[in-house]
Symmetry: C2
Subunit: 356 residues, 2 copies
């Protein structure tokens, strides 16, 4: 769990752990600036009584008659975020990629633990990191329960394990989609992949050189996902199957279909795009494959039975989450087909996008 | 959660995640050797029905009327294990340092999730890693529930979040020790610190150059902790306060006392030592400070009321765990005092050991 450093420093890799306990009194070499810094920045996030104010070795998570949904996702510098990304957006992405999993499973956030691997213990980095993490923890009702901070000579890495609650037996699985179900996605697809290309100075950056607002929006979609936790209840109430889209719509849909032992047909023109993505596509600056194979969308992909779709759409509207019906589940085990406006199948050479 | 790689490789850092799902059928570039390898090695560990065979995005943890104890600890190459340590011992240490926390909190293991950050996806490393992890998961009744595998150019890092169950309100805290309680530790203290010194070719290595068996034993104590989960019930039944000794007995006792707002007096000659450690101490090859400030003991430190000590000791004997009464909780908030055989206080310049 979050640990105080004893007397040594992360920089020197002398103490490997920062355990977040109460400040020791009268203890030689026991108090340190790091200790109080960690306590100061992270303890305010530990608002759940089960976190014991981060002064113990473990936290308590109450079942409260529900089942606990557990998910874990790590983000690594240079892979899931860029070395010059701000600690604010890194913190938010670390938590939100996990919140997105909880949302897709129909779970209500209950808390999280984190492991922080840092090269140096830098107040100027930790303060905004913890502040942003705390803001998102509050925003999504997902308090910090504990964690561990370790030193590393390698890239910064943040591993989060997040917990949610669902009524017994109600977690929405990947399996369960049935022929005739609508394939539905939230938000817009492809923005984050375009944003990453911009941040890396790729073709999209060139194509949008004159449109700073669009570039900023797309980069923001890569840096800070918008997990659809507001839709969790509707997903639980209506979806036969669901998962979040993190590795690209085409690849993730293939996984959902495989788990459900079904196939699907997707109407490409129904895939929801941001104005910026739509314009890039219309101009031919990017192909549809970049959109549907791009990663980091963190939208919900789900299969909704036709009879429940109207109610699902109403619930989504009330929740303030845009949902789009993009295709239909069909029988079979072939890879989902993506059809263009003329009904022609688009051959996708890859289903998931490669970041590097 | 444990992820298949899509079509790219960890080596190339193309796909950052290996999600462990069912193998996709007929999907271009979706199956890979890595996918089947991860599934082959880790799925057998996912024996809990809540793990869904690692084919979903999240796992389910049942409360079953208990409270869920959550703890997380990461181990980093070059810090908590050495670059040439075998994947077998690395796997065991990663899980056991967390099991040790559960034991000290009086919790029965319920499962764990792991994040693996690897430089390369190396079958020759992953196979024995997963095999040892699975053996320990079985041995301690703590099945794999899910995880995430990411690529890193930096040191190998394994972050585990482990779950245990306790009856409501029964988690044993750091706080709660009362004046008059006995201070009790399990096993022997200091061996792991001596073992690390041996592995680093330090003074202990020289002192034990003629005693390969002792060197091996001490190194083994550093590499593979022996968490005292067999004692969890007795700790829950009898201890006023408990924690595991991971950062050195002196420092961890100071933390327990601080959390309990008490102090303690320790009788140094009562501190349980292995024969090897006792001999090194008697020969003057190491000082008592190395023993009581060394890290990585992963023994339980607890405060047992005098009236309950006989019953606790009996329960420990039945559990096959050696316990030693090493001192007494006293009123006050000063740092615990360590007294030698002549009743003189030993001044400790440091309470926790520095690995590096």
């Amino acid at each position: 769990m979050l640990k105080h450093p004893g007397h040594a420093s992360l920089e020197a890799r002398k103490r490997s752990h920062l355990r977040m306990t109460g400040r020791e009194r009268n203890a030689p070499n026991m108090s340190s600036g790091e200790d109080s810094l960690i306590a100061r920045y992270f303890r305010p996030l530990a608002t759940d009584p089960g976190a014991f104010g981060l002064v113990d070795d473990a936290a308590i998570l109450q079942g409260r008659g529900d089942e606990i949904v557990v998910t874990t996702d790590a983000i690594v510098e240079g892979v899931h975020f860029l070395p010059d990304d701000s600690p604010d957006t890194i913190a938010r992405k670390a938590l939100r990629v996990n919140l997105s999993d909880l949302a897709a499973k129909g779970a209500v956030p209950a808390g999280f633990v984190l492991t922080l691997a840092l090269r140096t213990q830098d107040d100027g980095w930790l303060a905004p990191f913890a502040r942003a993490l705390g803001e998102d923890a509050g925003l999504f009702g997902c308090p910090l329960l504990g964690g561990d901070t370790v030193s590393t000579p390698g890239p910064v890495m943040i591993s989060v394990t997040a917990f949610g609650r669902v009524p017994p037996g109600k977690m929405v699985r990947r399996s369960g989609a049935k022929p005739g179900d609508r394939i539905v996605v939230t938000g817009t697809i492809g923005d984050a992949a375009l944003g990453l290309d911009i941040l890396k100075g790729g073709a999209v950056a060139t194509a949008l050189a004159q449109d700073a607002a669009a570039s900023r929006m797309l980069a923001g979609r890569y840096r800070v996902p918008q997990p659809r936790n507001a839709l969790a209840q509707a997903v639980r109430d209506h979806a036969h199957a669901a998962m979040d889209v993190s590795d690209g719509l085409a690849g993730d849909l293939a996984k959902l279909c495989a788990a459900s032992q079904v196939s699907a047909v997707i109407d490409i023109k129904s895939i929801p795009l941001s104005a910026a993505a739509a314009e890039l596509l219309a101009r031919g600056a990017v192909g549809i494959e970049t959109i549907v194979s791009g990663g980091d969308d963190y939208e919900i992909l789900c299969a909704i039975p036709e009879a429940g779709f109207a109610a699902f759409a109403r619930a989504a509207e009330l929740a303030g989450v845009a949902v789009s019906s993009i295709g239909t589940v069909i029988a079979g085990t072939s890879v989902p087909r993506f059809l263009d406006a003329q009904g022609r199948e688009i051959a996708l050479t890859r289903l998931s996008y490669s970041h590097f």
